[in-house]
């Protein structure tokens, strides 16, 4: 099964830009889930989850956030911010018909999800937060700052593979085939034949120009009304056990699912993860 490749034009302070999204399953399905990737990743990270859910009758929509994958790059780096991403995703929900959707957000995708879900009348029914919460440890951000946006050039696929594997060694669990594809979607070919990372290096400007501090969004947490499943890599340096504990006891009182031996971030490719997510998404909404 291959996804449909679709374009959407979104308005930001610098005008319209085009984003690409990958759509799986029936276009007119009554159940739609949007899957949003992490900082440097793109919509193809969700191929396995998407195929499985599409097989169960879901419409699954996986955008490349602007500056990533096959979406446009912005003219002004300052517009790579959550305000732009939240607006883009609101327009994506409109494109899908405007009805409330389910949400799966990995890392940055989970921050976008929380920002949307905390708003009055938010069109999100149930949300999976993958290794992310309302408090993000500076330590993990520091590590990301070390590799993001360096605009590397790799002479061949093997060199790119080695570099990608190095900065994503805590991602998992993945089998050999999945690892290979994970690398393939992480890179693009430059016109000179060399490989580089599959995003605009300027998406990381805020990282580059500031010293990492804890990001505290606890004020949003009680505003979120939809049921939440938080997936936590036990070795994560972005989502701590104590943050996850507080997510379970306050506000929307998340369910938790822990993956041992995995850091930031779980890839949602194993059948165990996929089954757990499906169970949560398909549970009756008690609201």
């Amino acid at each position: 099964m291959q996804p449909r490749s679709c374009n959407l034009y979104c308005l930001s302070p610098e005008g319209f830009h085009r984003i690409r999204y990958w759509e799986w399953g029936l276009e007119d399905s009554a159940r739609t889930v949007i899957c949003v990737h992490g900082l440097t990743r793109n919509g193809r990270d969700f191929d396995d989850l998407a195929q499985f859910l599409a097989g169960r009758g879901w419409r699954v929509v996986c955008p490349d956030i602007v500056g990533r994958g096959e979406s446009d790059w912005l003219q002004n780096k300052e517009n790579y911010d959550f305000s732009t991403y939240v607006n883009d995703m609101s327009q994506l929900i409109a494109r899908l018909g405007g009805a409330p959707v389910h949400w799966v957000g990995t890392s940055m995708g989970g921050i976008i999800g929380q920002l949307i879900a905390a708003k009055d009348q938010a069109p999100i029914k149930r949300m999976v937060l993958n290794d992310i919460g309302p408090l993000i440890d500076a330590q993990g951000l520091s590590r990301i700052k070390g590799y993001v946006g360096n605009d590397p050039s790799f002479p061949n696929f093997e060199a790119a593979e080695e570099a990608i594997n190095k900065v994503t060694d805590k991602f998992g669990p993945m089998n050999k085939t999945q690892r290979k594809r994970f690398v393939e979607v992480s890179i693009r070919k430059r016109s000179n034949g060399a490989f580089t990372t599959n995003y605009d290096p300027r998406i990381a400007w805020a990282f580059k120009e500031n010293d990492p501090e804890d990001v505290d969004m606890w004020s949003l947490w009680p505003l979120i009304k939809c049921p939440i499943l938080v997936i936590r890599g036990a070795d994560s340096d972005l989502l701590s056990a104590s943050t996850s504990h507080r997510m379970q006891t306050e506000g929307p009182k998340a369910e938790e699912y822990v993956l041992e031996g995995v850091g930031h971030a779980p890839t949602l490719m194993s059948s165990e993860e996929i089954n757990r997510i499906t169970l949560f998404l398909e549970a009756e909404n008690n609201q």
Binding site: Y9, L11, F16, Q91, G97, G98, K119, Q121
Partner: protein, 279 residues
């Protein structure tokens, strides 16, 4: 024949989501899409005749902007700005599963069309109904004279008479057309009385000046058709002339004896628009 569906769209408006109402005419899967946006105090019903005709070959989406018709009102009246309306419009454009859409904007809806086009919106063509990049203060003042005064009428007939009197430059309308135009302008309150179909909080307290948007004009890079009521106080002859000779060099369809603003209900107007967008 009723060939539209009334629908709701969730739109991000600052710190919250609001509901925007629209009429979806024709086949939802048609990739020929026209989006119609009304004037300052008007609503989506103004496009019923046009949409009914176009919808045999087009999907036509006619929208109520925030604070008008069936769309949500904003708690913060200062948030009724072009910036917010543009965000709303971007959501409406997103509704269309087409690479490009055609924009049909009356007055305020035309200003939005110019702003969006200059911002690189995925437009195929642009129809401006009695509006351009320059609006003289005198015309704006006249247009907004009774705006936001929130009058209450005991009967619908009284209310329609008021609409007809204060909007006499609109047209051309048949008698039945006036009746529909009047009814579309009104909403009934719980006690049975009638008032206008918009949030009185829309009226801006800012002093009215000339509105000069000529910097947008060369950035509009799609074919433009301007419908012009020759007696219009908002779109004047020198502006029409400059619109026709600079930037996208608009085509002009003139309506003698009509002011602000053409109602887009007569056959010549509808044909002019249909011919332009289908060419």
């Amino acid at each position: 024949m009723k060939c539209f569906h009334e629908k709701r769209l969730t739109v991000l408006a600052g710190s919250r989501f609001i509901n925007i109402a629209y009429k979806d005419w024709g086949d939802e899967n048609n990739s020929n899409v026209a989006i119609c946006v009304h004037g300052l105090s008007r609503n989506m019903n103004d496009f019923d005749e046009l949409a009914a005709k176009l919808s045999q070959r087009w999907r036509v989406i006619a929208v109520d902007m925030p604070g008008r018709g069936q769309s949500d009102w904003l708690d913060n009246k200062l948030a009724y700005t072009y910036e917010l309306y543009e965000v709303v419009c971007a959501h409406v454009i997103a509704l269309a599963k087409a690479e490009k859409v055609t924009w049909i904007g009356t007055s305020m809806g035309g200003v939005l069309g110019m702003r969006l086009a200059a911002n690189g919106a995925p437009f195929a063509k642009l129809v401006l109904n009695d509006i351009g990049p320059f609006i003289p203060a005198e015309g704006r003042k006249h247009n907004q004279a009774n705006f936001g005064s929130d009058p209450i009428f005991k009967t619908e007939l009284e209310a329609i008479a008021y609409i007809k009197q204060t909007r006499s430059a609109f047209g051309p309308f048949t008698e039945a057309g006036w009746l529909k135009f009047g009814r579309d302008s009104l909403r009934q309150l719980n006690d049975g009385s009638w008032t206008l179909h918009y949030d009185p909080g829309l009226a801006s307290k800012v002093p009215i000046t000339d509105s000069d948007m000529w910097e947008l004009w060369p950035k509009v890079r799609v074919p433009v058709l301007t419908i012009w009521g020759e007696d219009s106080r908002l779109l004047t002859a020198p502006t029409v002339d400059r619109m026709a000779h600079s930037g996208p060099k608009t085509e002009v369809f003139s309506l003698p004896g009509i002011g602000h603003c053409p109602g887009l209900t007569s056959l010549p107007e509808i044909s002019a628009i249909a011919n332009f967008i289908e060419r």
